[in-house]
């Protein structure tokens, strides 16, 4: 490990030790900041992937962040025809609206009846199928076909 303050050697922040990256992210109360922090460079991204995993598996850690509301009327096609973007309303930052890019374009026509712990329930009426989807990790899991639910 290079000595802190080694003369004449420019400091490379991308080499910041993981435990310090995690300490910094603990001080970001807006989830948008967390996401943008992790998309700065590869090493920060992989350091935070681990803490993302922790956040996704621990409801108590999710409480570090205030919820973002998905704005259904802000689904939009982007220049890239295979992607679409969503509007997210931040409750803590004076109603600031973020645009979440790079989502699969199929989501444009799907219906989201609810969410839990960061997972969105996505219903595709055309197929028909139900999936749960995490918009930040992009993890997607299929749920059993609709006809297995007697009430539907």
């Amino acid at each position: 490990m290079a000595a802190a303050g080694e003369p004449h050697k420019p400091k490379d922040w991308s080499e910041l030790p993981k435990d310090l990256i995690v300490l910094i992210t603990e001080r970001l109360s807006a989830y948008a900041d967390h996401v943008r922090f992790s998309s700065v460079c590869f090493s920060w991204n992989s350091a935070l992937a681990r803490s993302d995993e922790l956040i996704n598996h621990s409801p108590s850690l999710q409480h570090q962040y205030f919820p973002l509301l998905v704005l259904p009327n802000r689904l939009k096609d982007t220049e890239d025809k295979n992607r679409c973007s969503w509007g997210l309303l931040s409750l803590t930052e004076n109603g600031k609206i973020y645009k979440l890019h790079g989502l699969p374009k199929e989501f444009r026509s799907m219906h989201c009846p609810g969410s839990s712990h960061g997972w969105l329930v996505i219903v595709d009426v055309a197929t028909p199928s139900i999936n749960i989807f995490n918009p930040f990790t992009r993890a997607q899991l299929p749920l059993p076909p609709m006809d297995t639910f007697r009430s539907m």
């Binding site: 303050g5 310090l20 609206i97």
Partner: protein, 184 residues
């Protein structure tokens, strides 16, 4: 209070003097001192002579008192004092003045560029100086809040090392300021 001198040797072999009481602000140094294996000079192979005086300056100011930044976080109110029967208003005022003075000192102390911040954060982490680590981590977080990845890269002088494909896949959160879709 003992005023025994401790000598610290930087990674580039320069020796610095510090009072033992000040050195105790660092958990790492405190353990070395208490461990009794102090052999005149403590070598610090992870801290260079560029940054060690800055670390010593912090330790001198805090003199083994690791709780100072916590007091600031509580708005300068020391919880223990509130439950004392003889609550001294004058003492409370003096404490507030002391905390304000410390805040001002910290503001001036923390006025440096990102290169120094990097070294100081690493040194605080290595030497286990809780208050200094809190200050440096908070400064880094303040350079990230509300900023786009490009602005963060600029602040910390780093280049994006994602491949164009990874960049494409990246979830991007952007501020949306246009009111094209304003609520009706």
């Amino acid at each position: 209070m003992s005023s025994t001198k401790i000598f610290l040797k930087s990674s580039d072999d320069k020796t610095f003097e510090i009072d033992e009481t000040a050195a105790r602000a660092s958990e790492t140094l405190k353990n070395i001192i208490d461990g009794g294996c102090l052999d005149g000079v403590i070598p610090l192979p992870n801290v260079s002579s560029n940054i060690l005086p800055k670390v010593i300056e912090y330790c001198k100011k805090h003199g083994g008192d690791n709780g100072s930044s916590k007091k600031i976080a509580n708005g300068g109110v020391d919880k223990d004092k509130e439950i004392l029967p003889d609550y001294d208003e004058e003492e409370d005022k003096r404490e507030k003045v002391r905390v304000d003075e410390l805040k001002k000192w910290e503001e001036e102390y923390m006025d440096f560029d990102q290169q120094v911040l990097y070294d100081l954060m690493l040194a605080a982490n290595y030497l286990h100086i809780k208050g200094l680590l809190d200050l440096t981590v908070e400064k880094a977080a303040s350079m990230i809040r509300g900023r786009t990845p490009d602005q963060i890269r600029e602040n910390f002088n780093i280049n994006s090392d994602f491949t164009p494909e990874e960049e494409e896949e990246m979830i991007l959160i952007e501020d949306e300021w246009d009111d094209e879709w304003a609520f009706d």
